[in-house]
Symmetry: C2
Subunit: 193 residues, 2 copies
Amino acid sequence: MPRVGMMALRMDALVNATIEQIGRKGSLDVTVSQIAKAAGVSSALAHHYFGSKDELFLAAMRAILSEFGAEARRELARASTPQARLSAIVRASFGGQNFRPEVVAAWLNFYVLAQTQPQAARLLAVYQRRLVSNLTHALRPLAADPTTAARTAAALIDGLYIRHALASAGPPDAATAIATVERYLALAIGDRS
Amino acid sequence: MPRVGMMALRMDALVNATIEQIGRKGSLDVTVSQIAKAAGVSSALAHHYFGSKDELFLAAMRAILSEFGAEARRELARASTPQARLSAIVRASFGGQNFRPEVVAAWLNFYVLAQTQPQAARLLAVYQRRLVSNLTHALRPLAADPTTAARTAAALIDGLYIRHALASAGPPDAATAIATVERYLALAIGDRS
DNA sequence: CTTTTTGTTGATTGACCAGTCAATTAAAAA
DNA sequence: TTTTTAATTGACTGGTCAATCAACAAAAAG
């Protein structure tokens, strides 16, 4: 039943299935066949559209990263004060689609992938630079040393992420994670409330 | 040349080779043959002593964890004040054998392993509980909310770890990492220096 | 000196999997 | 209607790898 325009549909389904399978299994050790089956197509089709397993992984990474970027832009659009911008960045990190268990688990695995795949490393570096840059920008009018505070906050966010990847038992507690980062930011700003 | 007492020697060599290979490759995707060759023995011997690849991985994890514990005990023994205890814990996290690039890279991969291997998850949970407990204990006389500060510091340490796992270019900058955590702790304690 | 124990490996097996290819279907274009 | 083109797959291949096993070597025990 070859209807034209299937390509975008199939690629989307395959990318989502990739994230879901990596997340569910908690490992990059998923076969193309498993992913394809989860997407409802044959493994040959996955190779047809993506060329290789690595490309499929990279596409999944890009999907997560761009979803994160979109969420961040959405939240930042509502923020006018520097404090609100900080909150927006933090909420984007732990909110919406970005904090679903499979996504967090996949995220952790992409860190591993970045150790071998130069492309994956590049993507991750872009994300990290953007996060630190957003934080620095928002902190500039507030903190004595915006750069250091931003780097610390970024590391804290990453740390909370992987802690959540492990604590797979129980629901992903976004509220606590957000509160933890915001408490740190309040300290760094010198807020004595 | 079967001299008695080889067992302990070989097992040590295999465990070290496992850490080194996982670290070098940046992935759990290392073959038993590669590890065995790096240890100077046959793959059959690795299976003879450890039974399975998983057991070998777990032994490597235990080695890293117990090295970390030893370092922590060593540093804590020199500390008398609560402040010194905090410093000791932070230094143990980023000092000595624990911050070599291969070890950090292997560490990241053990996080991934813990998502599938219940044993690995257990080991990691023990380490995390001990870290938070040590930090809480040292923070009790210093901070208003020792538990929260300890959890935050632990997440920060983990975050800095994986950031270093990625920034494989350049030397592992322990000093900066230590300074970052101590700066946070100073804030959390309410130090206004 | 013989026997046992310990250490060690090459060869093999059984399973799995990424990637290829030729063939098939049906929609769309000519 | 005929032809082209997009979508799709089953079957296959070449390669890899964990785990097993039977056999061998040499030290230690008797």
